[in-house]
């Protein structure tokens, strides 16, 4: 092989035609810029399928997406409010606590270490407890006791009313605990005259913009 180096110097070891240009021609121009991000396509894509089946599946897909946001399986992290303690905190519900799970799985099929307290949608039992707790946390004991007895009397009346409404709502409880709570929040909360959104201090206005990006689904 070394011996044939002198002979046939201008011969290449492969078929020159295969290169695409002959001898003596200039090389093809080199690229000066990176290729464009959206190069024009020589062959346009084929249009999508149409028809009743396709439309129905499209509608199903969008419905599924929207409804999965409302299911308890959609987990949102609870952001602790690191601001000053506000008056409205008492009325703002601790809806999304991290240590409660919003549905009740079958714990016998899961490892014990995953067991978490199941949060039932707020019923009548929770409300008197909340007020009792906050009252207890507040002040001195004797005044407290008087207040408490007064409270309890008031609440017995109140909880009787609430129990009746609670029974009516147990019917609707199955599928929409959210609707249930909205209903509760709106009118029956902790003996205030204001609806719950009155106590909204606007902290959630800008904060949610990073999560939950699809709001409306068409």
């Amino acid at each position: 092989m070394a011996g044939s180096r002198g002979r046939g110097r201008s011969q290449f070891t492969f078929n020159v035609d295969a290169l695409g240009f002959g001898r003596g021609d200039s090389l093809p121009t080199s690229a000066h810029t990176p290729s464009p991000l959206f190069p024009p396509m020589q062959f346009k894509p084929v249009p999508l399928h149409t028809g009743e089946e396709v439309d129905y599946m499209l509608a199903l897909k969008q419905e599924l997406r929207a409804s999965s946001k409302n299911l308890p399986f959609h987990i949102k992290a609870f952001r602790t409010k690191t601001d000053v303690a506000r008056y409205s905190d008492k009325y703002q519900n601790g809806e999304t606590k991290n240590n409660c799970i919003e549905w009740s799985p079958d714990w016998s099929r899961m490892p014990k270490e995953l067991c978490i307290k199941v949060r039932k949608p707020r019923k009548t039992g929770a409300k008197p407890q909340l007020t009792k707790k906050t009252k207890v946390a507040a002040g001195k004991e004797e005044v407290l006791q008087k207040l408490e007895t007064l409270e309890k009397r008031e609440e017995e009346q109140h909880s009787e009313e609430e129990e009746d409404e609670g029974k009516k709502k147990q019917n609707e409880e199955e599928e929409e605990p959210d609707a249930d709570q909205d209903y509760d929040e709106e009118d029956l909360e902790d003996e205030t005259d204001y609806i719950m959104s009155y106590f909204d201090n606007g902290e959630d206005f800008g904060a949610d913009s990073d999560d939950n990006m699809d709001e409306a689904v068409y």
Partner: protein
């Protein structure tokens, strides 16, 4: 899992279950098997959130747990089933199939079970009856027995199956009652359980309840109390049902074969193939290469009565099907008028090949497609031979071959004549291998769906303000209409959205519909390629 699959899984988890579950899920996919503490440490999430996410994933059958590497005494380890997450893309197709086979009741049953992961029979029946009642006109309601019969039919045809029993979940093996946890690596197949498709006996009578909104009569209160006591009476505690995806996939595969036959030949041949597939539904195992052999007599008897074709005509059709180059049907014997089988794996391979060819055709033109088909048939060809066989001029052929080569659709095989691989003394052969090319296209499909989802999220985010405004206005309109407002008020509210905004909303809706529709269509290709790849792997 490949990078594209991980990305797509992350996007799907985020869409359905939120960011938290997405973080946990992708961390588990990337790391393989992890314990709870390790997972919490790596994702830097609070332990409770990690527990909740794992519960969600297990409820939906996407995550398994088992004894870890340290044996039953060590911490429990968790493992993700990646295909299950990708199945979420196909939910609309499953639901639509259930609707076409079993009507609205079947559709709602499958939808409920898909959304909730696993459910008991009684809770499914109640929920579906309530939903159906809600949509019925006033005064009518759906009886539980109809829903139960639809459920039974779904179970009999194996579209629903019982969830496999998990070993008792204590992490320390104490008494004799606790069987040791199976190793994480072998999940129990649901089919291994002998009672997989056995319906439990439940005493569930009643009708769907219509949800009332405001004032309720006494009757409803009593009915509500009765509903509470009914909960504990049904006899199927602890028996959970899940959707049998494999069965749905077999159904889709059969549908694909039938429609391919009807496109290639005609309606009658597709009916014959449909009959053959229906007859061998229960006798053919899931990964079989061909169905059980059926004699022509049996096929003749089993044909639907609307197709009264004569016996010799049926024989002619069968001969045509056997002789067809696509090889959907094969003849395996002569007894009983001829024994015929449907070649499932070969049909899948042909369908995948048709997909590859059409992809090349749509992206690179019909001449490139001709070269591609040529290489698929003739296996190895030199450049000169390609030019000759494809009847394409040399320069263009070279150009096209190099384009295909750069896209990795075509491979180059060197066959040296001398050990020093000198270019003048080596054969360079172009070749196409169907299986690796199918895998490549499958990854492209996953990437495509990921891009489509991201684009949809981007579009929604860009127009978030507008979408919120339109939602608020719709809510105002709805409440105004409910309280009976005048037309002037309604038009005033409607005018709060200006005309250019309306146009923008309309175009946004159009874009999102198009993106969603594309996702569904790409998923069909994904299914075909996945089935082909799985069938060739199973065959080995």
């Amino acid at each position: 899992m490949t990078a594209q699959e991980v990305r797509l899984s992350g996007l799907l988890l985020q869409e359905h279950f939120g960011d938290v579950v997405e973080k946990v899920g992708t961390r588990l996919i990337r790391s393989g098997v992890l314990t709870l503490r390790a997972l919490a440490y790596e994702t830097k999430l609070p332990l409770d959130l990690v527990k909740k996410s794992l519960c969600v994933l297990m409820q939906h059958g996407m995550c398994l747990f088992g004894a870890g590497r340290r044996g039953p005494a060590g911490p429990v380890e968790y493992r993700i089933i990646s295909e299950r997450i990708l199945h979420m893309l196909r939910y609309p197709r499953y639901i639509y199939t259930a609707k076409s086979l079993y009507g609205d009741t079947g559709e709602l049953i499958v939808e409920e079970i898909l959304q909730r992961g696993q459910m008991t029979m009684s809770s499914t029946v109640k929920t579906v009856a309530d939903r159906l009642t809600h949509n019925m006109p006033e005064g009518q309601s759906m009886d539980y027995s109809e829903v139960v019969s639809a459920f039974s039919r779904l179970v009999e045809t194996h579209f629903l199956q019982r969830c496999p029993p998990t070993a008792s979940a204590g992490s320390s093996s104490s008494g004799a009652v606790n069987t040791p946890l199976p190793a994480v690596k072998q999940p129990t197949e649901p089919e291994e359980h002998p009672e997989c498709y056995k319906l439990p006996y439940i005493n569930l009578t009643g009708q769907g309840k219509r949800r009332r909104s405001s004032e309720d009569g006494e009757a409803d209160q009593r009915a509500a109390k009765k509903a509470k006591t009914d909960d504990s009476e049904c006899g199927d505690e602890g028996i959970y049902w899940q959707v049998n995806f494999q069965r749905f996939h077999l159904h889709f595969r059969d549908q694909a074969i039938i429609s391919a036959v009807s496109c290639k030949l005609d309606q009658t041949s597709s009916e014959i193939v449909r009959t053959m597939l229906r007859m061998s539904e229960v006798t053919t195992p899931a990964h079989a290469a061909f169905t059980q052999a059926l004699s022509a007599n049996e096929i003749f008897r089993a044909l639907p009565s609307s197709y009264n074709i004569a016996r010799p005509i049926l024989d002619q059709y069968l001969t045509l099907l056997v002789d067809d180059p696509m090889e959907f049907v094969g003849k395996t014997g002569d007894s009983g008028g001829g024994m015929y089988v449907v070649n499932l794996h070969r049909a899948l391979a042909n369908l995948a090949r048709a997909t590859l060819e059409s992809v090349v055709q749509e992206r690179f033109g019909s001449r490139s497609a001709r070269i591609f088909r040529l290489l698929l048939r003739k296996r190895h060809l030199e450049q000169k031979q390609v030019e000759d066989f494809a009847m394409v001029p040399a320069k263009e052929a070279k150009d096209m071959l190099y384009t295909l080569l750069s896209e990795n659709l075509v491979q180059l095989q060197e066959i040296p004549k001398t050990p020093d691989y000198a270019p003048s003394r080596t054969f360079y052969l172009y070749t196409v291998n169907q299986l690796p090319t199918a895998r490549l296209l499958l990854q492209h499909c996953y990437k495509t769906v990921g891009n489509l989802i991201e684009r949809r999220l981007y579009e929604t985010k860009e127009n978030k303000r507008l979408l919120e405004k339109s939602q608020r206005i719709e809510a105002i309109l709805a409440s105004l209409q409910a309280t009976g407002a005048e037309a002037a008020q309604l038009t005033e509210v409607e005018e709060m959205i200006t005309a250019p905004e309306r146009q923008q909303l309309e175009s946004l809706r159009h874009h999102i519909n198009k993106l969603d529709s594309s996702e569904n269509q790409v998923d069909e290709t994904i299914f075909l390629l996945e089935s082909y790849i799985n069938s060739t792997q199973a065959a080995r």
